[in-house]
């Protein structure tokens, strides 16, 4: 999974970075053009496609009945999975999820779970026995960097678009009724990834930049501007003041995006 970048390209990118410039003309704190489409897969309970520059992610949600976890009998269940489909990059291979896709799914999961985005108490059919299980499946269709932010954005967009079945309980059995209800969503976490390249902090790294970056750090920010999840990644390091600076950038970017998205 180690993609290769030529030394010439690497030098070019870091020379630009030294002048606060980026290869595609963006400023250091600018996201690429962002497009969100909801409800693109009719068979799914909810769905969304996100384009972040050339990065493309589709998320589909499915809802099934299942058992709650024994330590949370009064809560529905959230399951997030990510597939790095071989369609998306010459580096991706079909097969069981590798550490990259597991990490991606778990970062997105943490943002949704820790912000308490889904009102899981409302997904209980019979406490301790039967609850709704929400499956969030992330499908990466084209990898041009920053899969985390694109996937998190697509996941929340898909959840906002998710319908769940109406039901009634008759003689202890669950019967489905016609019609649908909206999945109860109460928070809208926004995920911002900051990469460190040549001692500069940049948001929304594209693939080339990810290949030369020292490390990245991802913040999930909730509706009240609190931090609800963080993940540092990559084989480099941050100094403490760089972390606090990155947190401030993430807060400001999340605020800006929240306004645009009307979340």
């Amino acid at each position: 999974m180690t993609a290769i970048i030529t030394r010439v390209k690497k030098k070019q990118l870091s020379d630009l970075m030294a002048q606060d410039k980026r290869a595609d003309g963006r400023g250091l704190k600018d996201y690429r053009e962002m497009k969100i489409e909801q409800g693109i897969i009719e068979r799914a309970e909810g769905s969304a496609r996100v384009l972040l520059g050339k990065t493309e992610v589709v998320v589909g949600t499915k809802i099934e009945m299942g058992e709650p976890f024994s330590d949370t009998p009064n809560e529905g269940v959230l399951t997030v999975n990510a597939e790095l489909t071989p369609i998306a990059s010459p580096e991706f291979e079909a097969g069981p999820p590798d550490e990259m896709s597991i990490e991606l799914a778990r970062i997105v999961d943490r943002g949704i779970r820790e912000s308490k985005a889904i009102n899981v108490e409302k997904l209980v059919i019979e406490p301790g026995k039967k609850v709704f299980v929400v499956f969030v499946d992330i499908y990466v269709l084209n990898h041009d960097g920053n899969l985390i932010d694109a996937s998190a954005l697509a996941a929340v967009s898909a959840l906002l678009n998710t319908k769940m079945a109406n039901y009634e309980i008759k003689d202890g059995e669950v019967h489905l009724k016609p019609g649908y209800e909206q999945l109860p969503i109460r928070k809208h976490p926004i995920t911002v990834t900051v990469a460190k390249i040549e001692d500069k902090l940049v948001v929304d790294p594209q693939l080339e930049e990810e290949l030369v970056m020292d490390a990245r750090i991802t913040f999930a920010i909730d509706d009240d501007e609190n931090i609800c999840a963080i993940q540092k990644g990559g084989s480099g390091y941050f100094e403490p003041n760089e972390i606090f600076e990155a947190a401030k950038i993430a807060k400001a970017k999340a605020k800006e995006m929240r306004k645009k998205l009307n979340w």
Partner: protein, 249 residues
């Protein structure tokens, strides 16, 4: 196990195990504990009991993973089935896969990877007993095991968590505090370089609380760092005493 304490911090500001907010659990470190390994270390951090062993640099397996300009580090964080209350299946969980990745990424910046091209360094971590903060204790032990193996390093890596329980920012959460508390922020540091190599968080924190938690965790790291260096020296003190005894015999 199901009786949840109402408060995690009492009126005097003391925690369930009697610690103050900024107090570490007792830490015990030992270097050179696995005879077969090229480097090894054992940590007891509170009730956590963790072994780390390093094998390598050695031949890359499978071969196609080899890199021409540096060594490949592989890391496996694994929990013993008996390490937690309910038996954990020995098959690697998604959590263990993620932790293996972030632990590796926390150690790589410390190692001069380019000194050993076309080789592999294996770092194996076995959690024998878990009590909250296993990833941090694992990093502290694994860095010692790497140093013990003799691989050149820029610095040791040391890790410690801080978090929030009952609206108070506290150092080094144990299992109950982690499960019932408001947030957990594990941090790994190379103290001499002031370089943070691991940072994660779950829970909810304001920006002020987050900065406070990170600074508190960094402070905890520096305290454990002193113990780490002492443990590394202690191994050689032990060796020199053994040879002295042999000479006297």
């Amino acid at each position: 196990m199901n009786d949840k304490p109402e408060k995690l911090i009492d009126k005097k500001g003391l925690r369930l195990d009697g610690r103050k907010a900024d107090e570490l659990r007792p830490v015990k470190l030992e270097v050179g504990v696995i005879a077969n390994a090229d480097g090894s270390a054992y940590i007891e951090h509170g009730k956590n009991k963790i072994l780390a062993a390093v094998y390598g640099p050695r031949e890359v397996h499978p071969k196609h993973l080899a890199l021409q300009d540096r060594t490949v580090m592989k890391c496996r964080y694994h929990m013993a089935p008996f390490s937690v209350q309910e038996r954990k299946s020995p098959a690697p969980s998604r959590r263990e896969v993620e932790l293996s990745k972030v632990i590796r990424e926390s150690l790589e910046p410390a190692v001069f990877m380019e000194y050993y091209p076309r080789t592999m360094v294996d770092v194996f971590i076995e959690v024998l007993q878990a009590d909250g903060g296993t990833r941090c204790a694992s990093i502290t032990a694994a860095a010692l095991a790497l140093a013990d193996s003799g691989i050149p390093m820029r610095d040791l890596v040391v890790a410690c968590a801080a978090g929030k329980v009952d609206d108070t920012v506290v150092l080094d959460l144990m299992d109950t505090e982690d499960k019932l508390g408001g947030a957990d922020v594990p941090v790994a540091l190379m103290p001499n370089l002031n370089a943070v190599t691991l940072l994660q968080m779950d829970g909810i924190l304001t920006h002020e609380e987050f900065e406070k938690a990170v600074n508190m965790a960094l402070d905890g790291c520096r305290q454990i760092y002193a113990m780490q260096k002492e443990a590394l020296k202690q191994k050689y003190v032990n060796v020199s005493e053994e040879t002295k005894e042999e000479a006297e015999e």
